[in-house]
Symmetry: C2
Subunit: 191 residues, 2 copies
């Protein structure tokens, strides 16, 4: 196959699926929730998680005020809710009330952990860096919450029990097939 | 459901699937490839992509020397190769030669673009931040390469044509089901 080489990059971020997470914030008695596909683990020891948030977002304001957030890993069952959360701003409405989002406050932070998440990370901001049109927020993970029914005995995600939701751009989503194993074996050397 | 709350976080990063990308580097005539699941877009304008790499990795050395990398988005067809790339270090062997990795140099960087990738980002490092046991490298995306057969006319990934590979921790991987749409509509207000 011959690849197309593109240097005009206006649609560059539709090339791979990424977990459609819900990031929550809490400041001055106000909760908000935002759909975020730009996120990743950064470090294991100390455990650090990153979310990239535009300064235009209401979540950005609450994040800067509170220095806390949670990342909620959702399933396909929550797809309609994820779409709704993506479709409105906390500057306009109380999403938790209007969308009927069920949640509990975090154990170590005031930001909410969603009932529908198979796992959630509670984070305290330890760094913020502006790159381009977004701010990368680095959060130390101070607690993990997880549904035991969604994980196997070795702590890996049980894809027979849960169907994680992944974002494809625009209003498109997908989920996962079964688990396969690819061993770290090297091929037999021919020399 | 009642979640387990965990503050001992040694296995915190097995809670969600993330794209199993191959990050390549090139320095002083030497190519390397590394399997990386900790990566994300950060900014759209300027386009910036992040990869998180341990200083223990050979890729880290080549990244610091060259200031360039590519991120290759792979399919399940490449699963055995991804496992092999994850299973060895470029400090010990020439992975491209030993594993038979087919590639071309990037159009804007010397780091390789893999033939088996449905898309690849060519990046030049514009930032590096140490958090915990990893370094986050921020790369400006200077070119995107993509296989036209893997994408729909609206530039979204065509999941009938390509099965992206996702990482689940340890040696476990999964792929995607079909595409579903979740509109950003709000529910009808009851008041």
């Amino acid at each position: 196959m011959t690849k197309i080489v593109q240097t005009e990059l206006e649609s560059y971020y539709y090339h791979y699926p990424a977990g459609a997470t819900i990031v929550t914030t809490h400041s001055n008695g106000r909760d908000n929730a935002m759909a975020v596909a730009w996120h990743t683990a950064i470090s294991r020891d100390t455990p650090i998680y990153l979310v990239s948030i535009s300064p235009k977002r209401f979540t950005h304001k609450l994040l800067v005020e509170s220095g806390e957030f949670t990342v909620n890993f959702m399933s396909m069952d929550s797809g309609p809710l994820v779409g709704q959360i993506a479709g409105c701003s906390g500057a306009d409405i109380d999403k938790f009330a209007e969308l009927g989002i069920k949640s509990q406050p975090g154990s170590q932070v005031k930001a909410a952990v969603l009932d529908g998440a198979q796992a959630a990370y509670e984070c305290k901001v330890v760094g913020q860096h502006t790159y381009g049109d977004h701010d990368a927020f680095l959060g130390e993970i101070v607690a993990v919450q997880w549904e035991p029914s969604a994980f196997s005995s070795d702590a890996s995600l049980d894809l027979d029990a849960v169907k994680p939701i992944l974002y494809l751009g625009e209003d498109y989503y997908t989920s996962t097939t079964g688990t396969v194993e690819h061993k770290r074996d090297l091929p037999a050397r021919t020399v």
